[in-house]
Amino acid sequence: MQVFASLLDALAFTPSRNAKLRLIGDYLRTTPDPARGYALAALTGALSFSGAKSAVIRGLVAERVDPDLFAMSYDYVGDLAETVALIWPEHPRNAPPPTIDTVVDELSAASRAEVPRLLEAWLDVLDADGRWALLKLATGGLRVGVSARLAKVALADAFDKEAAEIEEIWHGLEPPYPTLFDWLEGNGSMPDPGAGAGFRPVMLANPLDEAAIDKLDPSTYRAEWKWDGVRVQAVSRNGEQRLYTRTGDDISGSFPDVVAGFDFNGVIDGELLVRGEGKPGIDGLVPVAAFSALQKRLGRKRPSVKLQQASPGMIRAYDMLFDGDEDVRGGTFDERRARLEAWGTTAPDVFDISPLVPFASWAELIEIRAGARADGIEGLMLKLGAAPYTAGRPQGPWFKWKRAPLTLDLVVMYAQRGHGRRSSYFSDYTFGAWTGDDTLVPVGKAYSGFTDKELAALDKWVRANTTDRFGPVRQVAPGLVFEVAFDAAQRSTRHKSGVALRFPRIKRIRWDKPIEEADRLETVLALADG
């Protein structure tokens, strides 16, 4: 448990992705089984214990610590698990600290009534970091800035495998993953993913380099609309139904209305959308609601019936990985497309098929893309007709070609320090538009790939124009305009401005532009209203 605690502690403070990969990789290579298997399960969110609620932990600490001192401490520290980990009285320890496998085994087997005494005994023999790790592990939610995907990439890197190979077999595995580590260390064959409703790693597209489009033969590529939803994988095999994100997170629980309609057998790749109202959308398809409606549903682990009715989910299918029990990933895009269209004639109602966009030349397609401003469309996808379905992001077969971004001139309002190499620079900016009474209201925040020279100039400007400080954030006097590019503006009740920008990024620093000439909020709202 102490080694795992050190790992969590290091991860929590390390912002760099590469450094996190190394910390996790080193741990997984050097830690024995089954401890490393349980640690991997914890990092990928595969563990949960029902009896260790925060009320239990409050109860335990109340038996040991003066309530006034606890209140003063909690007030200062601000986090319950951390306060308890730090304040837990220490005595000379006789028993050795528990291993992570002991903790996982015993917590899993314990009844709700037994959990408090188990935790108490472990708290008595762990040090502060160990107690913190124990409480995080037991209550769920490590919050150390590591996604399931990152943990799997670290595992693949540590043993010279591809992340896609891990993803392919992942859903057939159970903690502490003995067959997985045997295979990784060359002591066994690759575990069989089996015929279950596991996730299959997805094929991803690269951005299209427009300048090089003429080097591609238009007759060999197929075009589709690029939908502004969430990429998902719909799995229905042998009576088991699952909905996964493109990174393999199981979101079936958030979309019971969608999963209930999985009356088919196979694996479908498509876009999760929320049905809109009113007249049909592009190509006569079902209209699609704004992304914010989907976002609201993504945030709910157990959506109410009311929310499901107000924002019904659906899947717009564009590829097929399994046709019934047959793995069709080795076939060409054209072959899979033919199967998908055939399947589409009898597919359940929660699906429709994303149509191909016919075109004869790149010039024609460029024109189609420029005209595509309909709701729910982000641009176009280009897919090579002869390409198999290859996990990962292979160069060449698939391109995403977003429509030209919108731009606005916005005034810099707040600046925040970056991380790692940029920790001394202000590299994250919040910018705003003018309201009717000539005050600024924030409309977005972006981190940008400034050159080092630009970054240094901006940094100097921020230091010279700071009017207030809030921790790492500086408020600056209005005086600098950014040209901000973004994919779409959408109405939002979460933001004070009433509008949210999709994928904002800083295109140019407009040192030359007077702030009075920056855009007004009504212009931004007009973009949101189309």
């Binding site: 050190s6 001192l69 951390e82 001394s424």
Partner: protein
């Protein structure tokens, strides 16, 4: 405040700080006064502008480096050496905080008062170990007076740094340390742990480190950052004041790992605020358990509590049966924690 005919009335709180009337002398005054006893060299205790300063020879030397233009009359007092001023018997005892740090013991009219200054109970190769003095009134610091502050063994924290250096050998490690005390203690601890490469110092740390070396401390191969070429620094261990880590100064290092050695690192939010990727919980102050233990060991019937979390410590001491109350001294800052 109490008058001279009351219990402990001969030590009072004045706007300038703690004042002993029969000896006409202040202890760690916040502004210039005619006569001062200085417990140690940190800027919130040792200020310039006094007429006469009484302190250990080490503290006087530190003040000389910090305030070269300040030339008070000085009197060096060795630990345990007694003097009498205005009928008050005065001596200094080691406080274990930094080089030369002292507690002030005062005896008058059959009462003994000890003013702790800042102190710690853990061993420190660069500071004489804290000595418990039995007294009637103990005036304690309270920097880390919350039960969440329990410092882990310093050796264990130093090992975190050395592990990171081994795990990320291609990156520079910049360690944030206060210039007086923490810097030199960390140099000693890192050397004791077996690290033998050169250690590079930010310019602000050099003079005081040289002063320690003048008192006979050996820190191995220590070099200035200034004038060293970038390639040599790219994988080195570098010490700097904590504020320099988030400052332009740190830009000379390509992709450094940033560590900070301070008792405040115990709390995650504080560590993040300081931009520490590698928080090392190493403090030159007593932690919660040590504050309680020390107040008890002095046998004092009454404890006054200064700068820090007075409320929590007073609450705990009263619950343990000691008389205790906060003493609010203005102008105290978080230095050298």
């Amino acid at each position: 405040m109490a008058r001279a005919d009351q219990k402990f009335g001969w030590l009072e709180l004045r706007p300038g700080g703690l004042y002993c009337a029969p000896a006409d002398i202040y202890i760690d005054p916040g502004r210039g006064v005619p006569n001062a006893i200085i417990t140690h060299g940190h800027a919130d205790h040792a200020r310039p502008g006094h007429g006469k300063v009484l302190a250990t020879a080490e503290t006087l030397a530190i003040m000389g480096v910090r305030y070269p233009a300040d030339t008070p009359e000085t009197q060096a007092l060795a630990y345990g050496e007694r003097i009498t001023i205005g009928g008050v018997h005065i001596w200094l005892a080691p406080a274990g905080h930094v080089l030369g740090s002292a507690q002030v013991a005062l005896e008058y009219g059959g009462e003994r008062i000890v003013v702790s200054g800042d102190y710690k109970r853990r061993p420190d190769p660069t500071a004489a170990a804290f000595e418990v003095i039995k007294c009637d009134l103990f005036i304690t610091e309270a920097t880390f007076a919350l039960p969440v502050f329990r410092h882990p063994p310093a050796e264990q924290e130093v090992q975190k740094l050395l592990t990171s250096i081994a795990q990320f050998p291609e990156q520079a490690h910049v360690l944030g340390v206060y210039g007086l005390g923490k810097c030199q203690r960390m140099l000693s601890l890192v050397r004791e742990a077996g690290f033998e490469e050169p250690i590079y110092l930010h310019g602000a740390l050099i003079k005081l480190t040289e002063l320690y070396q003048g008192f006979g401390f050996d820190f191995g191969d220590v070099r200035p950052v200034a004038g060293t070429d970038k390639a040599e620094l790219a994988t080195a261990l570098i010490f700097a004041p904590p504020s320099a880590i988030q400052d332009k100064w740190s830009r000379r290092f390509q992709n450094p790992r940033t560590a900070v050695a301070s008792g405040w690192m115990r709390v995650r939010a504080r560590a993040r605020q300081r931009g520490a990727e590698l928080p090392l919980v190493i403090s030159d102050h007593a932690d919660w358990d040590e504050l309680l233990m020390t107040c008890k060991e002095t046998g004092a019937e009454e404890v006054w509590i200064t700068h820090g979390r007075e409320d929590a410590l007073a609450h705990a001491l009263i619950a343990a049966g000691q008389r205790a109350h906060p003493l609010c001294i203005a102008g105290r800052e978080e230095e050298a924690a």
